[in-house]
């Protein structure tokens, strides 16, 4: 009961399949170009990582690790943001998103890869450099530092690695499965796979929320083990979604530039993606401001030290740049309707937000090198750039491979008729 007959469904989907926009050429990445692009990106990535490694010997392990964690943090948060959005789309039965969802799937499925990229840094700091970046990883830290000793039940290598495996299993399993279900639907046309994805999202989303928060504690908050904030997980999530939406928008801008996805991603879709980007920039600002403000106002030394390092002295400028660049500029730039509806403008906005997302992680991680307000030496930024090029090269190289391996849009999603007709009234 309560379903439309298989026959009429077949008829509808035949209409979708016959739609000129669903043409094979339009929905697959240009194979040769994708392959060479991914080779280029992976090559640049490998070079960047090699330079980072060299930088570790030149400028010190702590600097190299910090720069590397900045880059990995940015892509990890972005892929987790994509995973969360993907599950939310499934849960709320979103229709308009059907033609764009595949890119969220591709990006989310790289969450375990981004997590694996974190592993070398963790292992190096645990085994080789002994707490150069994550202070608590030094075996003597717990004995020398009262607070770290207090937290030893949480801040210890065994727990860290066990949680790492849990995160990997959960994010890897869920993101892989959600993408596989969608790809399988392309093949079989079974509309009830959508229901499977929805059920899976229902139980996986709360778990993802918890693991994102704890991953945030593990990899970023515990860099300064004295610092603590209950808001931390939400902050990581908010920034991650901004970056994820920005990456997806940029992907479509590129794809349409090379003549793919014509008519599948219309100004209406850009408009809605732009609204998401706008909304999450505001949400990020709300979370970031609340966190800053409560620490500033209560003025308790046990937590203000973290904000002081980042909002006064050498890092004050970065903090202001972050507030203006991650919120102020996108807020006014993305507000007009016309901007959200033009691929060129929204692409510029998305690229800017992605850039600011990286700055966010610079702001979180890098000041640890400058305890006591010492200014960073401008000459050392080459190491950060190398690490970012390295990690982004690897990550986006794999992203392009993902992109090319399946069609660019779900082919037989039951929500396609709706997404193809999508229109913003008012």
């Amino acid at each position: 009961m309560s379903q439309i007959g298989a026959e009429s469904y077949e008829q509808i989907m035949a209409g979708v399949a016959a739609d000129p926009r669903m043409d094979r050429d339009n929905v697959s990445a240009p194979a040769g170009a994708a392959a060479s692009l991914s080779r280029l990106l992976l090559g640049a990535g490998a070079a960047g990582l090699a330079i980072t490694l060299v930088g570790g010997f030149v400028l010190g392990a702590q600097h190299a690790l910090a720069s590397y964690v900045v880059a990995v943090g940015a892509v990890l948060a972005a892929s987790l943001g994509a995973l969360c959005m993907l599950m939310i789309f499934h849960l709320v039965n979103a229709g308009w998103v059907a033609t764009t969802r595949r890119q969220f799937e591709n990006l989310a499925s790289l969450a375990p890869v981004a997590l694996l990229l974190m592993l070398p840094a963790l292992l190096i700091d645990l085994v080789v450099t002994k707490g150069a970046l994550w202070e608590w990883m030094n075996p003597e830290a717990a004995a020398n530092d009262f607070l770290i000793g207090q937290k030893a039940a949480y801040l210890n290598p065994v727990r860290l690695l066990v949680f790492f495996v849990l995160y990997f299993a959960l994010w890897g399993g869920v993101s892989h499965r959600l993408r596989a279900l969608s790809v399988e639907q392309d093949r079989t046309g079974d509309r009830f796979l959508t229901m499977k994805a929805r059920f899976m999202s229902a139980w996986a989303l709360p778990l993802t929320a918890l693991t994102v928060a704890f991953a945030g504690f593990d990899y970023f908050m515990s860099i300064q083990p004295h610092f603590f904030s209950t808001m931390w997980g939400v902050y990581i999530f908010a920034g991650g979604v901004c970056a994820a939406v920005a990456i997806v928008i940029l992907t479509f801008c590129f794809l349409q530039f090379v003549g793919r996805m014509q008519g599948l991603v219309t100004p209406e879709h850009y408009h809605d993606l732009g609204k998401l980007l706008f909304a999450f920039c505001c949400f990020w600002a709300y979370i970031g401001f609340s966190q800053y403000f409560l620490i500033w106002y209560a003025n308790i030394p046990e937590e203000t030290f973290w904000m002081l390092e980042r909002t006064t002295g050498a890092w004050r400028g970065t903090a202001i740049f972050l507030a203006v660049g991650h919120f102020g500029i996108p807020f006014f730039f993305l507000m007009p309707r016309t901007v959200k509806r033009r691929p060129l403008f929204i692409g510029i906005g998305a690229a800017w937000v992605l850039f600011m997302h990286v700055i966010d992680y610079v702001w979180i991680v890098r000041p640890v090198l400058h305890h006591g307000g010492h200014a960073p030496t401008p000459a050392s930024w080459w190491l950060d750039i190398a690490a970012i090029v390295g990690v982004f090269g690897i990550f986006f190289g794999l992203y392009v491979i993902r992109l090319g391996s399946v069609s660019l849009t779900p082919m037989r999603d039951p929500k396609l008729p709706e997404a193809l007709k999508h229109k913003n009234y008012v």
């Binding site: 401001f289 403000f293 500033w296 106002y297 003025n299 229109k423 009234y425």
Partner: protein, 203 residues
């Protein structure tokens, strides 16, 4: 809108518009209205009205019809800019008020060692007042642009028009439209599918 039109709208007992046409009973004609019974017909009628080049005409409907802006050729409203202006005003008022009171006029009142002019505690009220001003601007700006409130209108005198807030749709052409002619316009409205056409007297 010309000022005389405005006066005629709001003070019809003082000013009357010079009517080009009159009914057989000698009443000045305000316009003509045509009833459509469902939204699809009304939508297509709107498209035809737009293509026929009418200027002072309207489609009255019990709910906002999706896409009617395109069908009628309505330009986007300037309301967002009014609201944006109100938002900036609110932000400036709130910021100026708090800063002047706290950092200029009433210093010597230290709270938790916070600087007098610290921006952080002002952010909340700046935001709230900005929102308050925008909300007022969006409701009252909308009413202003719509020429509301206006409790009297010639259309309200037509019994049939009372269904426009229930389930009927009315295309209305005003007599001040340059291409208005009682007979021709009525005929045109019938041709595009009106189920009933009536002349509306000025009131």
């Amino acid at each position: 809108m010309v000022i005389t039109d405005l006066l005629a709208d709001y003070a019809p007992f003082l000013f009357s518009r010079k009517a080009k046409y009159a009914t057989e009973a000698g009443e000045p004609i305000w316009g003509v209205m045509a009833q459509f019974d469902d939204v699809v017909n009304a939508y297509h009628a709107a498209e035809k009205m737009r293509d026929a080049g009418f200027k002072h005409w309207d489609l009255h409907a019990p709910f906002p019809i999706h896409g009617i802006e395109e069908a009628m050729g309505i330009k986007r409203t300037i309301l967002p800019f009014i609201v944006l202006g109100a938002m900036f005003t609110g932000v400036a008022v709130a910021a100026g008020m708090q800063w002047w009171i706290t950092a200029v006029d009433y210093t010597g009142f230290t709270v938790q060692g916070k600087p007098y002019g610290a921006w952080q505690p002002f952010a909340m009220i700046i935001f709230e007042i900005g929102v308050l001003f925008s909300a007022f601007a969006s409701l009252f700006g909308m009413l202003m642009l719509n020429g509301l409130p206006r409790w009297n209108h010639p259309l309200f005198c037509k019994d049939r028009f009372l269904d426009s807030s229930d389930d009927k749709f009315f295309v209305v052409v005003e007599a001040r439209d340059p291409s208005f002619n009682p007979e021709q316009t009525s005929r045109f409205l019938r041709e595009i599918g009106a189920t009933a056409v009536e002349l509306v007297e000025d009131a």
